[in-house]
Amino acid sequence: MRISNWVFQTAEVAFIAIMSVCGTVALASSQLFNSFQVFIKMRVPGIAPYTALIIGAVLFTTGVFLIMVKNRGRGFFAALVVLVALPSIISFDSLDLFRLLKLDSVRAQFTTKFNSAEMTALGAVIITCYLLINFMSLLRKSRNDLAVQGADLTGTDGVYFKSHLGLLAITSIALTIAVLIGGLAWGIELVAHPTLTHLHWGLFVVGLVCVLLIATCIYWLVSRRKI
């Protein structure tokens, strides 16, 4: 099956748009954004209602320019989106650094209207889109390189399409696994929280190291198996 190149490029642009929207929504729900909007209202009252829209548009344009035009800076764009969403994300910190540093007024800015589950979903969407964009650009670059090297275009397009199917499958499975692990952790927390609160924190560190070691061993054994 052959799908035209522009379909994949449109999908890339759509993922950039989704990332930009998620970042902007996360920012717009924070107290820091409200304070910023008040500041803008005092200086340039006309554009204050469109502040979120402008930030989103700037993010989207940067993403399209870097990824679609320059074909680089995918990591930079993802970092930019996470940075924009950061005021909402760090409002869920257990360790209150601002209070430790006696910056209570600053701490008040880093709060959000979203709850923990909504914020996790937004974060997951941002990372998933980043993964998809990253590998779609990589596949596009490989296809262009093959075309320049004079490879048979029918075969190249077939491989290009099937690689996208592979990317979609791997991302879906990875997302499912991440959701399962997250759900499992949440379930364990609910069940074991009353017991765990009585245990020494050092036990968790040792436990985490053991879990990671066992996970590494299992992974090593599985990855050696032939398909």
Partner: protein, 434 residues
């Protein structure tokens, strides 16, 4: 072995996890799980491996202009992802159909693919076909690619074009070229000198069947092999091939020297088929002598010698070439064929050489048994401007007196313009049809 792409995501996971743990932020920890699970799932899939490439048979002897079908059957048993196949083409081979660089997708099941393309050889020579190189990548390049090559190198001999002999043979007429004085019928009395072994044809004497050689052929459909012996009073043709660097007018593939070689090959093929003995001297390239002999073996010997022939920087060796071939010329009174280009600055040496041959062969009040094949270099390249066309005319006019002088000396001159006609057509022009 992981690639930079998978290492990047592992780094993102570690950084996010540590940040999440330090800040006690469950959202960052949850976000860090995605790159990790992506790399884990991705690297469980292996890139294709265990390739089996079977090639079809390629003839080791082909002719310039022939189209060769290259076909490989490829089987991939393991892995998932793209497989790249590439075969390097030797110089002077043109791709006619298909592609020598192809990509296939290996799915979940064992993959069977056909890697095929068509090529055309444009210049004589000995070429080496290297094995097919393959590379298989991970679907998302998360692990290092596998690569290798399959089979062994194959050597191919590309011979110059041969003459369409049937066309020349079937034309009844009187040749303007005199043939050797001791011109005896092809079917002479057989001597005891062994020439070659060939397949039995109806009419061959039973006593000539080589039973031992036949028995050695292990094929179930064995056909008897017979010995062929030299016949008495064989005619001889002596070829003088000019290999001066000045003949390389044109491109690397199409130039006067290449056409000279084509003419030599055609003449050798023609005269050997007629039962003649053919010898050759290559001058202006250091001087090389090939002893006169008859039979297919001699044709192959000359043809193989022509494959690797290069031009030299000399332009005055023709007289010494005649001196070195003196014993063969005087002993056999052969038809001397000189293959050269008369439009060079050093064509006077050819005239001097023909005079020398006239002194050696032209004493019997007969037509001089010398033929000069003039390969016209000025017509090989197409004219792009009006001045190019004028230059061609000037060169042609400059060559004309030299041709006339050679004809006055009694030599037959075959003026061959390769761009306009084949060598066979040029040879037929030498015949006056009855």
């Amino acid at each position: 072995m992981l690639t930079k792409y998978s290492l990047k995501f592992i780094a993102i996971f570690i950084f996010s996890l540590l940040l999440g743990l330090i800040l006690g932020n469950r959202i960052i920890i949850a976000m860090s799980l995605l790159p990790l699970s992506f790399v884990l799932v991705g690297t469980i899939l292996e890139s294709p491996d265990d390739l089996l490439i079977r090639k079809t048979w390629i003839s080791s002897r082909i002719w310039v202009g022939d189209t060769i079908d290259i076909e490989y059957e490829v089987t991939v048993k393991q892995g998932l992802g793209p497989v790249f196949l590439f075969q390097e083409l030797p110089a002077h081979f043109a791709l006619i159909e298909g592609n020598n660089f192809q990509v296939f997708w290996k799915g979940w099941h064992t993959g069977n693919y056909t890697f095929s393309y068509k090529i055309c050889c444009t210049k004589r020579g000995i070429y080496t076909f290297f094995p097919v190189k393959w590379e298989s990548n991970h679907v998302l390049k998360l692990t290092q690619p596998h690569h290798g090559d399959s089979g062994e190198s194959v050597e191919i001999q590309v011979h110059p074009k041969i003459l369409n002999i049937r066309r020349v043979k079937n034309l009844k007429g009187i040749s303007s070229v005199p043939f050797p004085v001791n011109d005896i019928a092809k079917m002479g009395v057989a001597t005891t000198d062994f020439r070659e072994i060939r397949s039995y044809v109806y009419g061959d004497p039973i006593k000539n069947i080589n039973w031992k050689a036949t028995a050695r052929v292990s094929s179930p459909e064995t056909w008897p092999l017979t010995n062929e012996y030299e016949v008495e009073g064989k005619k001889t043709v002596w070829l003088f091939l000019d290999s001066a660097g000045e003949l390389e007018i044109g491109t690397n593939i199409q130039n006067a020297f290449e056409y000279c070689i084509e003419a030599v090959n055609a003449l050798t093929y023609y005269y050997i088929n007629q039962g003649y003995r053919v010898g050759m001297y290559i001058f202006n390239g250091g001087g090389e002598l090939l002893y006169p002999d008859a039979g297919k073996k001699q044709f192959l010997k000359i043809s193989r010698h022509l494959l690797g022939l290069r031009t030299g920087m000399r332009h005055d060796e023709f007289l010494s070439a005649i001196e070195k071939s003196r014993q063969y010329i005087l002993g056999n009174t052969p038809l001397c064929v000189i293959i050269t280009g008369l439009d060079s600055n050093h064509a006077d040496t050819i005239t001097a050489g023909v005079k020398q041959l006239h002194r050696m062969l032209g004493r019997r009040r007969q037509k001089l048994p010398v033929m000069v094949v003039n390969v016209a270099g000025y017509n090989i390249m197409p004219a792009h401007r009006e001045l190019d066309e004028n230059a061609r005319v000037l060169l042609k006019l400059r060559t004309r007196p030299k041709i006339q002088e050679l004809r006055r000396l009694g030599a037959a001159v075959l003026d061959w313009s390769p761009a306009r006609e084949s060598f066979g057509t040029a040879l037929i022009r030498q015949m006056r049809v009855r």
